[in-house]
Assembly symmetry: C2
Homo-oligomer: 379 residues x 2
Amino acid sequence: MNKHRLHTPGPTPIPPEVAAAMAQPLDYHRTDLFRAIVREVEENARYVIGTTADVAILASTGTGALECAVVNLFSQGDKVVAVQSGKFGERWVEIARAYGLEVVVIDLEWGQSVDPVVVKRTLNEHPDAKAVLSTLCETSTGALHDIRALGRIVRAKDRLLVTDAVSALGADELRMDEWLVDAVVSCSQKGLMTPPGIGLCALGERALEASKSSTLPKYYFDFEKYRANLEKETTPFTPAISLWYGLHAALKMMRDEGIDNVFARHARMGEASRSAAKALGLLLFPQHPANTLTSIRLPEGVDGRALLKRIRGEYGFVFAGGQDHLAGKIVRIAHLGWMDDFDMIASIAALERGLNDIGFHAPLGAGVAAAQSSLASPS
Amino acid sequence: MNKHRLHTPGPTPIPPEVAAAMAQPLDYHRTDLFRAIVREVEENARYVIGTTADVAILASTGTGALECAVVNLFSQGDKVVAVQSGKFGERWVEIARAYGLEVVVIDLEWGQSVDPVVVKRTLNEHPDAKAVLSTLCETSTGALHDIRALGRIVRAKDRLLVTDAVSALGADELRMDEWLVDAVVSCSQKGLMTPPGIGLCALGERALEASKSSTLPKYYFDFEKYRANLEKETTPFTPAISLWYGLHAALKMMRDEGIDNVFARHARMGEASRSAAKALGLLLFPQHPANTLTSIRLPEGVDGRALLKRIRGEYGFVFAGGQDHLAGKIVRIAHLGWMDDFDMIASIAALERGLNDIGFHAPLGAGVAAAQSSLASPS
């Protein structure tokens, strides 16, 4: 027997309530029953994002939702500032450039978090920049950017703050309206505990105002189409019905738990896995680690690919490795979505075993003990 | 007890094999196991479409896949000819215009099919038009366009033929390569018997060549990203994993049945429902009906909304009504995807009962008898 345990930063495990909802026979989507689902999904998506803004629920991945934000807010030649410190910061830059925007890149080493002062200075240097694009948790490195601080800075300068919360939504704290964030983008297969295939794009009041002068060509990702249909509790195009059933159940679970409890649970798991890494003599990769996933820098001589293969093959745990130039050099353990203290302990146990199996002598039990005491008395 | 029977032209019923595949626990998508799924889905999608071309499998609806074709083939200011005889012909026009194309519209009454001679004449009048955009089955009316004839005409003039086979794929005959079609677009929730959320876009050799000079901005729908990743048996963005599991199973079922048998089954069901309508004294709405769905023009005084409500409420059958100006005036009965002779008979029985219930005296039993003899000895 080899139980399968998914600790990747997307997809994440699906709760039985969500699986059961998705297993319902499909119904036609132009009915009162589906309108009720649209209403409740929208309401609970706003709750989780911390906003009163309209949220477009797209049939797309997170990248589609990022593109939705870009094509609705800007016009060709517009200047934007983008924070790039990993693969998904790079994605903002690539999408913006694909649409003919001029991108001022705050180019950080992978694993770093942006210093809010640098954002402020960059906006001073580029008074014509319309917006700042940043990730909340940079999934490729596990680094957290201080979106709350950026919100104050960007709002004070009357620009727009557009945040990729793809992996962080429903894990690391985010309060869109309170933190003065103008647009938030996410998707279904991370903290929202649903399979991939749904993207979310929330545009606040100022973003909506900016969208009125956007001239970038758009159709499928035209926010106005989603907004106008929301008023009728429907969608402009056929919704990904089975995934909506799942998302509907997942958002209800999150509302029942309470978003503060969701954040606290992830904070507790994040802290515990950082303690465990330390107890095993391992270094964390990011400067400011998120609670969405823990990225561990592997010691010299430890082959990350071999480690992941061993842990998956022998123990059934699926961790993620490094992307691009970090391939083989880091291990990323997500504690994201439908995860609790005991999943966390088990994943550290698997890490300890795997490291020893491939010849790195991590003190067996030290990681799980550290995680256990951290979980029992979080700071 | 009120069994639920879905006869809408998307979503369509999900076979148990597909439901079971989708109920599997999610796995990470960057694995050898998922690469095998990518390879098989791609191979079987080509088989069903009748092509050796690369098929981009998108996390999107059919509309996203239409947009994928447009943004990859054209540049701003390009001229295209679009056949418009219903809601989805209109969609081609809307998407093309949203991207700044000049659209020559062959504007037909809803329900009509395009005369290939008119397409030929239009291309003669517009020697600078790069392509013809048409639907195969116009879902909003149930009309079939003669894509095979258009293929010969458009190829002879060295233009591109781009076909929306959203509802028709795996139902009405389509043989992309043999019929000289350059691009085919479809999605998961029609003939492919999978829930909505996956779009397909196949670009043939000439379309791929044209895509090289396209300057429309694109990122999420950039065909080259999908093509390049296919070589590595993967996807550029997180695939809609659970829907891929379902599509994988559905395409296998279609391959096992054989595409000619799939076409013959739909032809048989189409013919039977047309015979039944006739036997009930009803007129068909489209000039040339497709085998994907049967659109029936309701007699004066029969309220389509009341009819559909009665049939759904009392008998559990979900038919579709008319869209836009046809609301209440037609009933659309899909016999599409996971459907057989006996589903067809049952749906006609429900139609007969519903018509009588709301006061239209259709001869009870005449429709089912006509369908039965047509199914037993199809022409």
